[in-house]
Amino acid sequence: MNVSSAVVRVRGLVKDHGQGQSRVRAVDAVDLEVPQGQMLAVMGPSGCGKSTLLHLLGGLERPTDGEAWLAGRRIDTLSERALARLRRRSVGFVFQAFHLVEELSAAENVELPVLLAGRSRREAGCRASLLLERVGLADRARHLPSQLSGGQRQRIAIARALANDPLVVLADEPTGNLDTAATLDVLRIFEALRSAGQTLVIVTHDERVAATADRLISMRDGMFVDDTRLAGSHTRGLGGLIGLEG
């Protein structure tokens, strides 16, 4: 693969948590390349290191060893300030617990990262209405998060993650707190993002979410144990799924 086409690239990535006796290797010598436009899902049991990996990819944590690049730029050696700036502008995070600012309206939550990136109030407002429209919540712009359902809050959080048109969206259990209908809403948004060429890395427990991805990596004890390409592989068609064939 052409290096320049990989949005996310890591080599020999290691992350230890704790010190001395209680030291645990959360991520163990991982290599990964995620090309532009790929939707990658990472699955594995609790404690396998998948969330830590996501934090390392997005510069929320620094690796103990190894190297990490974002769109060809080395990030593990950046200063704290440069890293914070890069996170704000180039990475969109989506968390299981939404992490919205409760005192701000839906629209203000989406505007915030645009303003923090140094753009004007007007630009932020335009961007927020566009994104709320895209996640189907234009009519909830003035609502506070507490007035919204879990599914709606997560859609606001996704709109916020997209605020600065990030190179990659990193989602940690994005449907972990959602019911089936809300999960499907989120999956429809991811699907639309994927079609639009957005690069996505999603850590999940939900096979349903994982199956929407182009590629699925299974993690165990900090290592990749399986790397499966799901895209473009057709089976016997839907008839086969419900026993209409054969």
């Binding site: 499907l184 096979e207 349903r208 929407t212 592989s233 089976t235 419900i242």
Partner: protein, 177 residues
């Protein structure tokens, strides 16, 4: 059933009675309802199809469970093909379970690998069903059917996860008995 019996013979030639005991052991309470004669019917069919050969143990009375059955080359090929197959038309959990048990016993294939291959296949199917479900308008009947397909595949995938955990412990404990 035929494939499972063939695969059990991959470890070593065996008496019908011995096969029955192993099958019962692997299936636990699920095997209790099995007709005791079923194994001999299956073996007779397999012999007719040229997949097993039968040798009478010398000096013993002529009874079906005194016969020793062994795989023919064609039988061996069929076992290899069965192990590699990732079909899941009607999820037959017992058959897949026995496949893993037989593969481990005869050291024919790594059960963890078989589980991984099956999991990949089911994930691809889940992806297809999921995409079709997402494309359905809310409240459509086909959407409801697809929801059922998705939920069943999800349940199967969770069970495969449990299989993976049990077999990756690296011993034959998952065989039971």
């Amino acid at each position: 059933m035929q494939d499972a019996v063939l695969a059990m013979l991959a470890k070593e030639p065996s008496h019908g009675y011995n096969l029955r005991v192993r099958l019962r052991q692997s299936l636990g309470p699920l095997g209790e309802s099995m007709n005791p004669g079923q194994i001999y019917v299956t073996l007779a069919r397999l012999e007719k199809a040229g997949l097993v050969v039968c040798e009478r143990a010398d000096g013993l009375p002529e009874r079906p469970d005194r016969k020793v059955y062994a795989l023919t080359p064609a039988g061996q090929q069929r076992v290899a093909a069965w192990l590699a197959e990732v079909g899941w038309p009607k999820p037959d959990l017992a058959e897949f379970h026995l496949k893993l048990v037989a593969a481990a016993a005869a050291r024919l294939a790594d059960p963890v690998e078989l589980v991984a291959a099956q999991r990949r296949e089911l994930l691809r199917r889940l992806r297809e069903a999921q995409r079709a479900a997402l494309a359905e308008p809310a409240g459509s009947g086909a959407g409801l059917l697809l929801e059922g397909v998705v939920l069943r595949l999800q349940a199967d995938l969770r069970w495969l996860e449990a299989c993976e955990r049990a077999w990756s412990k690296g011993d034959d404990r998952a065989e039971g008995g």
